[in-house]
């Protein structure tokens, strides 16, 4: 694989290889937890932890992993990180643990994580693998939070912006307005639209993803057309 810069790898993970909109991987957790901004944020954080851990360790061990049993070893490594984050969430962020429920343990079989272990970390040194992990995680987080925001606004008519914050010594998700410097942000932000319940159900997720994919596709096609015209093709 050609040498690429660390930043280049990150950006590739966000845009060219965006796990949700381009690779269309890991739709199951995306559908299930993108009902609100806060859930999407929590899921994105848990995912990033697992994605980075898995990429780093698969890459470190890549010369030691016997090819015949690489998948079981990937799963073992991923499982370890998922179990860790599951236990950590249960102990330190109980409300988030309750909201995400089964979808944290299910990161084990998230095809994005296994996919990157197999397609990238197993073939590249540690640093590019970290970059890949960061890029893919940001891409996944961006997709999830975009979906979460759209679905929360259309489905409930309001948006609660939450952040991970420590208040009075208690770590948790607090409304953005509770955080010093952001008190001007209303909580929740109200929109004068009739809430459509379908948007917070799985069909709503499909509709939103379809609309966003269409946008993604139109944008990338436009770019390609321009490129082709530049090269002198008649379109």
């Amino acid at each position: 694989m050609a040498k690429k810069s660390f930043v280049g790898e990150i950006i590739r993970g966000i845009i060219k290889d965006n796990p949700v909109f381009v690779l269309v991987l890991g739709l199951c957790p995306v559908l299930a937890v993108s009902t609100s901004f806060a859930n999407a944020l929590g899921m994105a954080m848990a995912f990033t932890f697992v994605m980075l851990g898995s990429n780093i360790f698969v890459s470190l061990l890549r010369k030691q992993i016997p090819p015949g049993v690489r998948i079981p070893i990937f799963i073992l490594i991923i499982c370890t990180f998922v179990t860790m984050i599951d236990m950590i969430l249960e102990a330190f962020l109980p409300p988030m643990y309750e909201a995400l429920g089964i979808f944290v343990p299910l990161i084990v079989v998230n095809c994005i994580v296994i996919g990157r272990a197999e397609a990238f970390a197993n073939r590249n040194p540690v640093l590019p693998s970290i970059a890949d992990g960061i890029g893919i995680s940001i891409g996944f987080a961006a997709a999830l939070m975009l979906l979460g925001t759209i679905r929360e606004i259309l489905g409930t008519g309001a948006l609660k912006l939450m952040m991970l914050w420590s208040k009075d010594g208690e770590l948790g998700f607090y409304p953005l307005s509770d955080i010093p410097g952001f008190s001007f942000v209303p909580n929740p932000i109200e929109f004068s639209i009739e809430p459509a319940t379908v948007m917070v159900t799985p069909p709503g997720a499909f509709l939103t993803i379809a609309a966003l994919m269409l946008l993604f596709k139109i944008m990338s096609d436009r770019k390609r057309m321009k490129q082709l015209k530049k090269e002198g093709y008649e379109i």
Partner: protein
């Protein structure tokens, strides 16, 4: 990817090693998180403290175990004014934990949905829609049915099934309390 072909023994050794490291890491995490969970549980107090805090029997000043597994006696000063219990019941998606308070005639004084995993935006209204659980107060066992079935509880529109499970759960918990008290 490694070029050398590992023998079966090497594969076994490597798998075992990785699994062993994973086990050690997880054991350490488990230790830390269990400590934190124990702290959380201590902060929340036993079921008696939690029932008092949730106010399922509004006039109660303390709850005392009735000797059984679930049921706690609610006292206002030294007068027995009702019973409270917290239990897990079946929901549409998963277990729902309910706290139920009744007076001495087993008429409901309060219901709280402690935890649930119903469909976000629909079934989870059983917890988020405060008007729903508020309807239970003052209703006796006869009326504890959805209004569609001739009872006094109006289901949440769009979440009738979850509403039904909560109603059935309240009946179930009251039944258990009656058994334990008598």
């Amino acid at each position: 990817m490694a070029e050398t072909k590992d023998s079966t023994v090497m594969i076994l050794v490597k798998l075992t090693l990785i699994a062993a490291v994973a086990a050690v890491v997880l054991t350490a995490t488990y230790g830390v998180t269990q400590e934190q969970l124990a702290k959380l549980a201590e902060a929340a107090g036993g079921p008696d403290k939690q029932l008092l805090k949730m106010g399922v029997v509004p006039d109660a000043t303390k709850f005392k175990s009735a000797g059984g597994e679930l049921c706690y006696e609610a006292y206002d000063g030294s007068d027995l004014i009702g019973y409270g219990a917290m239990a897990e019941v079946q929901g549409m998606q998963d277990i729902i934990t309910l706290a139920v308070g009744v007076d001495t005639d087993f008429v409901v004084t309060g219901v709280v949905v402690v935890s649930q995993k119903e469909t976000p935006g629909i079934g989870d209204l059983i917890k988020k829609d405060e008007g729903f659980v508020a309807q239970f107060a003052g209703v006796g066992l006869d009326g504890l049915k959805l209004s569609d079935d001739g009872g006094e509880i109006d289901g949440i529109s769009g979440a009738t099934i979850s509403s039904g499970y909560v109603t059935a759960g309240v009946v179930e918990i009251i039944g258990k309390m009656q058994q334990e008290v008598s």
